[in-house]
Amino acid sequence: MSPDHYLSLAREAIATPAGAERHWRAATRFAYDAVLLLVAGAVGLDPATFAGNTRAVREALAGANTADAPAFIKLARRHWNTLWLASLRAERALDDTVSEAEARLSVALAERVFAARAAGLQ
């Protein structure tokens, strides 16, 4: 299992025929999870442990030297808070509405981070 698989899950959720809000919520969550796991791996933190919890990964990302950081890290920094809050809303705020447009945006932003990572590997 790799972070890319979470992005695939997000894409699958968004592409569900006759999709409903539960699919948009799932897509939003998977998009954020994909970025979290990608960044955690890049900064050398294990997200399965306390040392690699959300806060630790976020702090490590914020502390990364912007000038020298790979492009995907810069993009992850840009979109982290946006994806994180969208994911928390999707996961917990059942009274709040999560629209298809918001879910598509989360997936698109996560895709940009992954595309930058893929470009950096070539």
Partner: protein, 248 residues
């Protein structure tokens, strides 16, 4: 203004423990002549366990609020006075408990005749109640002192308020300046993250590639002005409400 205590930290929980201590002292005094002290021990032990757990939780809640206030101050939001308000609420209850309740029972116990074993139990329970009260007070005083220290600290010149202004300026540059933009504090895990809510036209909202490109352009502009602030806010786009037809 950001509300710090989004999860309220009220004196309710420690107060319940204090009430249980008072109730135990009351019962022991009331049944002092026929009470078997062996019956009191398990209650005392159980209460001690509950008190220890509640002190740990009070400490955790206070630490969490102090941490949030520190972060909010660093982000440019002066919310330390909310900590002082919370501390005052707790201190009022602690003072009432110490001065009006425990002291009264101690005075009463001195006046009553009771077997030495019962007197020893009353003393032990009263000491445990006072120790609980002291630990609670120590945490709350620490919170007030920290709030005062945060209040004396200089707010950094470049902070999230600046970030909000930069993102607004970037929106204006990109001709997407909405009529109203909100900066809302949100609890994210154990942190506060500020979210800028931007209403946009429905056609832009539905066009994901165009919206994603707009977001990148916003970040580009902010990164150019202040790289450390880029991405410091969460952005949320919502469809602009369309005015309905006038009904005569």
């Amino acid at each position: 203004m950001a509300r710090l205590a989004l999860d309220p930290f009220t004196p309710e929980q420690p107060l319940k423990v204090a009430q249980q201590y008072v109730s135990l002292i009351h019962n022991v005094l009331e049944r002092r002549n026929e009470l078997d002290t062996a019956q009191v021990r398990p209650v005392q032990t159980a209460l001690e366990l509950i008190a220890n757990r509640v002190v740990a939780e009070v400490r955790y809640d206070a630490e969490r609020l102090m941490y949030l206030a520190e972060r909010a101050a660093a982000d440019g939001f002066a919310v330390h006075e909310q900590l002082i308000e919370v501390a005052a609420e707790h201190e009022a209850e602690i003072k009432r408990l110490g001065n009006d309740v425990i002291r009264e029972y101690k005075a009463l116990a001195r006046k009553l005749n009771m077997p030495p074993k019962i007197a020893a139990v009353v003393r032990e329970v009263t000491e445990a109640a006072e120790q609980f009260q002291d630990e609670w007070l120590t945490i709350i005083r620490q919170m007030r002192h920290r709030a005062l220290a945060i209040g004396r600290r200089r707010t950094p010149e470049v902070n999230l308020v600046t970030a909000g202004e930069l993102y607004l300026a970037a929106l204006a540059e990109l001709d997407e300046m909405p009529d109203s933009v909100g900066l809302t504090p949100r609890i994210a895990g154990d942190m506060i993250v500020y979210e800028m809510v931007v209403p946009v036209a429905a056609d832009l909202m539905a066009d994901t590639p165009r919206l994603a490109a707009l977001i990148e352009a916003l970040h580009d502009r902010v990164e150019h002005m202040a790289p450390q602030l880029c991405g410091s806010l969460a952005l949320r786009f919502t469809p602009l409400a369309v005015a309905g037809p006038d009904v005569a």
